[in-house]
């Protein structure tokens, strides 16, 4: 909206999805179908961890009331700060993304969806399963809104423990070296040191790359400690 109001973006055609019925969370046993237009505020109460904890960190009450999971998932990188914190818990939860676009409907793994980018596709819903265990840890920078310096999501899913990091770059990424170390029996502290093998943090308006490199292993350790 700010870009439209400031004339930076002049859409030729706009589709309003607020009443398209995409704002429901349906839970069957341990499986969730989360409509793309579900407000972030609803996730705080209804989504599985670590998604609920991440949702509670977004903006403030008013922002959470109108921001949606689909919007957060597809948020393009901003010039000055990272966006799309919910990508990290969705990566940790091994979510699947059902979308429609050229070639019709498709369901992608969250990894593939984020890799390819959402351009031209309309996200319909996210499918996630309740993890066996889940944890989150974050370092934020207090401001008008708390900006994320680093946020770690970890979850034990059917495919093992998955660890994802938001705030280090333009979009959230997994830390496969950490996951492999855990699978090989490393302690949280040992595994967390591997995060720097996968992740080369960025400089932005919120924190320096140097600072992020210094704290990344500690925040990952905290998340993994919370997991056990």
């Amino acid at each position: 909206m700010p870009d439209i109001k400031l004339g930076r973006r002049r859409p030729q055609r706009t589709l309003y999805l607020g009443r398209a019925g995409l704002d429901q969370v349906a839970r069957t046993d341990g499986s969730y179908r989360i409509g793309a237009a579900t407000p972030v505020a609803v996730l705080v109460d209804e989504a599985p961890e670590p998604l609920a904890t991440f949702a509670a960190r977004v903006g403030d009450r008013e922002i959470r009331g109108q921001a949606t999971i689909g919007g957060n998932l597809c948020a393009p990188p901003a010039e000055t700060v990272s966006r799309g914190d919910l990508q990290a818990p969705l990566l940790a939860l091994d979510a699947r993304v059902r979308s429609v676009g050229v070639g019709g409907e498709r369901t992608d793994s969250i990894d593939d969806f984020l890799e390819a980018g959402s351009d031209g596709r309309l996200v319909l819903e996210l499918l996630v399963d309740e993890p066996r265990r889940a944890a989150a840890a974050a370092v934020g920078r207090p401001h008008a809104h708390g900006f994320t310096i680093l946020a770690i999501a970890a979850a034990e899913t059917a495919s093992g423990i998955r660890v994802a990091v938001a705030g280090a770059g333009p979009r959230a990424v997994r830390a496969p070296s950490v996951e492999q170390a855990l699978a090989a029996g490393a302690s949280p502290g040992e595994a967390a040191q591997k995060a720097l093998d996968d992740i080369d943090p960025q400089d932005d308006a919120v924190a320096s790359a140097h600072y992020r490199r210094q704290v990344l292993p500690a925040v990952v350790t905290r998340a993994l400690d919370n997991l056990s």
Binding site: M1, P2, I4, K5, P11, T14, Y16, G18, G59, D60, R61, E62, I63, G65, Q66, A144, H145
Partner: protein, 177 residues
């Protein structure tokens, strides 16, 4: 686009992607929602949409078609302040007043949901609202006073007798006062 604003049915001619903030201020002349940061970060444009606090600067009017919008104009008037307005007045919870409509509406909605919030809950629920004058201490005191019902009748009736809207008397230097 039809919506109810402060209890009155209104028809908007603004295009669908116009912000609710601009439609309220420019088309309907309701100027209590302020155009602060205009990107959702300051809270000054907050209005209630179907009772929930929303950033009117981030809300396209198409999203409020058929909704009920409330601004502070509907809460009270001089001499008949709402309990939350009276508490802000009595506790000095404002100075310049720019952020006050947003704070008052967010507080009104907060107390509707949770009539006796803890101090932490107040800070958490109102954290999206910026105030550059008060330092927040007196704003939180006002919310606590409103929650406890500690609002005097004098505060409820504040504003009944002035300030006068008539032209002030012009004093000419050298003439007897």
């Amino acid at each position: 686009m039809r919506l109810t604003v402060n209890g009155l049915e209104r028809e908007l001619s603004a295009p669908p992607l116009e912000t609710l903030l601009n439609a309220l201020r420019d088309e309907l002349g309701i100027t209590s929602p302020k155009a602060g940061c205009q990107q959702g970060g300051c809270g000054a444009c907050t209005v209630l949409v179907d009772g929930e606090p929303r950033r009117s600067c981030l809300t396209p009017v198409v999203a409020v078609d058929g909704a009920a919008v409330t601004t502070v104009e509907a809460l009270g008037e001089p001499g008949k302040l709402s309990p939350v307005q009276a508490a802000f007045y009595e506790q000095y919870g404002l100075q310049c007043g720019y952020c006050t409509p947003g704070f008052v509406l967010a507080t009104t909605a907060l107390l509707e949901r949770n009539p006796s919030p803890s101090r932490d809950e107040i800070l958490q629920e109102l954290r999206g609202h910026m105030c550059r004058c008060t330092g927040y201490v007196k704003i939180v005191a006002a919310v606590e006073a409103a929650a406890r019902g500690e609002v005097s009748d004098a505060a409820r009736h504040a504003g009944a007798t002035g300030p006068s809207r008539e032209e002030p008397e012009v004093l000419v230097p050298g003439s007897p006062a």
